[in-house]
Structure formats: structure tokens, C-alpha cells
Symmetry: C2
Subunit: 307 residues, 2 copies
């Protein structure tokens, strides 16, 4: 008589190959709208894409790997700088500096404030203009959500990322798992050398205040299970040890045998629109109230191990 | 040159006495609207309340204590049943059964599905009618938020809990840290013997699908840092060990010397309305875009150690 909560297909559930997806082929599909598990089981190879290895980062921690997809369409200068830093092994040996409950995990150089001790940025820029938002364009098509958004005029998904916008502007949204570049008090004080990941309820008030640079595709549990920092804002204080960053490198710079072969569901397909509707109006028998509404950060963008 | 994210005053930050709150008294307050830290520093004793010990649960785990405030106004039958179970030490020695990334931690009897082995519910009910929503009434006054809600006609805070509603109905909302009673496929299959806590982005599609019974006031980190389950829906699978529940008891049934003395900010005060506005339109110098909007699950309901 175990009490079950409803199906919540996550990245890890998909990867675990748990059999949550019954073997339903599209041609067998009943007339009734399908749930997410059935839609994914009925997906075709073309419904998935392989993230560009040069825009995929592996953050290797002692407990395992976090895979990040960078978003050069939204933050080209920050993404380029982060790639320069990763190529030069800048991040290797640095630390997780901050773990704040229901907020963020943040990593970088523990000596960043000490001119004598801090690690050189090498060829990377030390200051970058903010990339808080972009002009809307045909290159950034948006699958808009039908139920609005508290923080923006519209919200949706574009090229695999949650976005929001207002008139002719569009920006990445601070959903769970999004990766951003910390900054100081001025807009141009970030450079991508200190990065954070959202590990709690979407802090959407950070939208247009910090440059988002990507999204965690896999391995969130290596960040969310870290011991919380006891200092102000969740910074780690001695004697608590800081978690070391083994390395951050792009998939392109990683030997093929060490890569994590994953695929992300494409978001420019009819299947993805069906998926949104399946999550918006729940058909699984457990649901007594199908809701008929969906909020941006509850839209799944599934990831799977390459078949 | 450490990159800082903005101030995010959390329960733990408040409790840590980190000096985040400058010593500003109300009468010294400048004309400019205050930020959250200043508002809390200027609060008066009457702005805080001590949760009713008989409706406060201590979930004691090996790593420490989680403090839960029950919500009898919204789920009277479930709360009564949970209190009956706690008084009879039903939960003591049971286990965390499920830890699902960006979703829930859930605990109960690992043998619940085995009639021969499962623990007796004693005097508690084995089935309860759903308490998904209530009739609105003067006893449940709501501080409504000005920016709407994706999932409901209105959203706000009532007696210390996040709520949403539609015409004459009101319900507790599935924000981060909310506690609910798992159920099977039928509305009346829950009883409070298996409980879950939201540890990720608010799964608001669960609203009106499950009975919420309370909110975690303190100690979320003891739940969020648990190793994720590798089974379907994040259930823990052998050989991974299940985290044992040392005990769940009410504060009223706990010797005074072992109680955790905390206060919760009252939500029926002018100060609380100022606090919402302070979070809605950010005044801290770090914020370049003050936002001017706030979503239900980003409204803080602060908790502090009793001064």
C-alpha cells in the first residue's frame, strides 16, 4: 500500500533506463492524447539532437560528472571566454565556493580577491559587457507557452533553453539547472571565471540581472547534494572543506572514450509541442485534477543516454 | 574580486546570525523603501510568532533535525492523523523511501505494501477523504500577490503558508519545502503515514491532486543533500541504504530542553506586506533590473532562532 506520487520523468529517470517508457510505437498510439512517457517512447531518432561537443562542458567533481550545454546564441562573449578558460585548464583545481540552500552552487578561484595569489585568466577577458538579453530574431524561434508568465510578457523554449521576453527582447530564464556567470556590482564585472547553477526554486528575479550561459543536462545531483555553506549567502567557511573541481573541459577537448554520449530532445518539433501539452494537461490515471496550465520552469527538456 | 550573487536571505542565513541584517531601527529608517535585511532588522517582537508546539513536528534524521509546521486550517483530518501517528511513535525507525532530484523526498514504512510485515497504524485512520482545497472564509485571510499566478486565479500567503485559489476555493500551494501526504490512485487513499517534501522547483501541477499538510520551517538541508534514489521515481534501491528516521514527534511531546526555539514572521502584518514589496522591487545596489514582479514560491516567509 505504498503511497505514490505521480510520475515525474526526469533526466535521471530517463537515463536510468527504468522502464518508465512503455514500448508504444507511434502507429499503435491510441486516439487519446499520450502522456510524456508514451510520447518519448514513441519518439523517432530525428526528435533528438546531439549537443555540439565544442559547446558542451564537463564539470568533473570528485563524486562524478556534471554535463553543461553552453548557450552561445544568448551569451556569445561569455561562452567564448569560458571556452578559452576551459581550454587553458583555468578551472582545474579550483573549488566550489558557495552552496546556498534553495538557491545556487557557485565555483571559482578561492583566491580571486587576492591579487597576489589569484590564478591568471591567461588569454581570457577579465571584464565582459553584460549579455542579459538579446534582440528577438528569426534565429531565436520560441515555442511559446499558452499560460503566461509572472515575470515577463511571454515565456517559452528556444533551441533547448527556457526563455522569457518582452516586446522585441528575449532572455534566458533562471530555471532550475541553469548556469550563470557571477558578477560584482557593475554590469560588466562578470567574465565567466566564476559560475553558478540554480539548485532551488527558479529565482526569476535574477533574469536580466546576471548573464546566463547555459544549462545542466546531466548530473545535477552532484551539485544539489553538496553540503550547504555556513557563511553568509551560503559561502563555504573553514574548517568545512571546499569541494575541489577536478577539471572543466569541453567535450570536444575530451578523448572520445571519456565523453558522455547523450542526446537532448529537440524543441523545434511537433513532438515537443505535444510534450508540453502532455505536461500541461495530465492524462496519467493518478491525476484527478489535470491542471490545464504549465509554468515555464516545469517544462521538461529531456536528456537521454545515446541509444 | 569574488563575484557575488545578490542577497538571498534564507532561513539558514537568518539563523546563522551572519550579520546580514544591519542594526536599523524603524524610527531611524530613511525615506527610501527598505530591503528585506533592513526590514527584518527593524522588526518588532510582535512581528513574529511562535508556532503552536502541538502543530510543530520534529523529524529527527541522523544528520539533524527538520522542523515542520502543520497546517490544520487546510488539512484538519490529515493533521490529526499524523499527530496520532507521531504520538504512537509510528514513524520512529521507518525510512526515507524516495529521493528524486528536483522533485521530492518521501518517507514511510518500507514494508507498507506487505500486509504481514507492515507496521500497524494503531489508532490512526488508514484512509482519509482528500483535503485538496477548502472553502474560502474569513478564517483564512489571504495577503494576495499583485502579479498573478500561472496556475490559479489568485495566489498569496495565508497564516504562514503559500496558497492559491479560484473563486470561492483556496488551497495550499506546492512550493519548495511544502509537506504533503502521499496517496495511491484514489483521492481517499492517503492517510499521512507516508509524507513527502518538495525539494525542487515548485511542482504546482500537484496542487489539488495531493493533500498538503504543512511546511518545513528549518532543516531543509537534511533532506536536500540526501543521495538520490536510483530506482524509478527516485525510490531507493538496494544495495543503497535507506536513511533511517530516528523519530518524528511534536514539539509539545518533546522535553523543553530538546526543543528548537524558533519564531516565524507573521504574515498578517504591515511589515509582511512591506517585505513582499521589498522582494518584488529590489532596492539592493547589486540589482540593475529591480524586476517589479514576484511569483508565489519566491515570497520568503522568514524563520529565526528565538532571540
Amino acid at each position: 500500500m505504498r503511497r505514490l506520487l505521480p510520475l515525474a520523468l526526469t533526466v535521471s529517470a530517463l537515463l536510468a533506463g527504468t522502464g518508465l517508457c512503455p514500448a508504444v510505437r507511434a502507429e499503435d498510439a491510441p486516439a487519446k492524447p499520450l502522456g510524456m512517457a508514451e510520447l518519448l517512447a514513441a519518439s523517432k531518432p530525428d526528435d533528438w539532437r546531439t549537443p555540439d561537443p565544442s559547446n558542451t562542458l564537463y564539470l568533473d567533481l570528485p563524486s562524478g560528472r556534471v554535463v553543461i550545454e553552453l548557450a552561445p546564441d544568448y551569451a556569445p562573449a561569455h561562452v567564448a571566454n569560458i571556452k578559452t578558460l576551459a581550454k587553458a585548464h583555468y578551472f582545474d583545481g579550483l573549488s566550489v565556493l558557495r552552496v546556498q540552500e534553495n538557491y545556487v552552487v557557485q565555483w571559482g578561484d578561492p583566491n580571486a580577491e587576492d591579487e597576489a595569489k589569484r590564478k591568471s585568466l591567461g588569454d581570457a577577458e577579465s571584464k565582459l559587457d553584460a549579455e542579459f538579453q538579446r534582440q528577438r530574431s528569426a534565429e531565436l524561434p520560441v515555442v511559446k507557452l499558452p499560460d503566461g508568465d509572472v515575470y515577463a510578457e511571454f515565456a517559452g523554449v528556444s533551441k533547448g533553453f527556457p526563455v522569457a521576453g518582452k516586446s522585441d527582447k528575449i532572455w534566458l530564464a533562471h530555471c532550475y539547472g541553469m548556469v550563470g556567470a557571477g558578477r560584482g556590482d557593475t554590469a560588466d564585472s562578470g567574465n565567466g571565471a566564476e559560475l553558478y547553477v540554480v539548485i532551488g526554486h527558479a529565482p526569476r528575479h535574477l533574469d536580466r540581472n546576471v548573464t546566463l550561459v547555459g544549462r545542466v543536462l546531466l548530473g545535477m545531483e552532484h551539485l544539489t547534494t553538496l553540503q550547504r555553506g555556513t557563511g553568509p549567502l551560503g559561502f563555504i567557511e573553514a574548517p568545512a572543506p571546499m569541494t575541489a573541481i577536478k577539471s572543466i573541459r569541453s567535450a570536444a577537448d575530451t578523448p572520445k572514450s571519456e565523453r558522455t554520449a547523450i542526446e537532448v530532445l529537440r524543441t523545434d518539433t511537433p513532438l515537443f509541442e505535444q510534450l508540453i501539452e502532455a505536461r500541461r494537461t495530465r492524462r496519467e490515471s493518478w491525476f484527478l485534477e489535470p491542471t490545464g496550465r504549465i509554468e515555464l520552469c516545469n517544462v521538461p527538456i529531456p536528456v537521454r543516454l545515446k541509444p
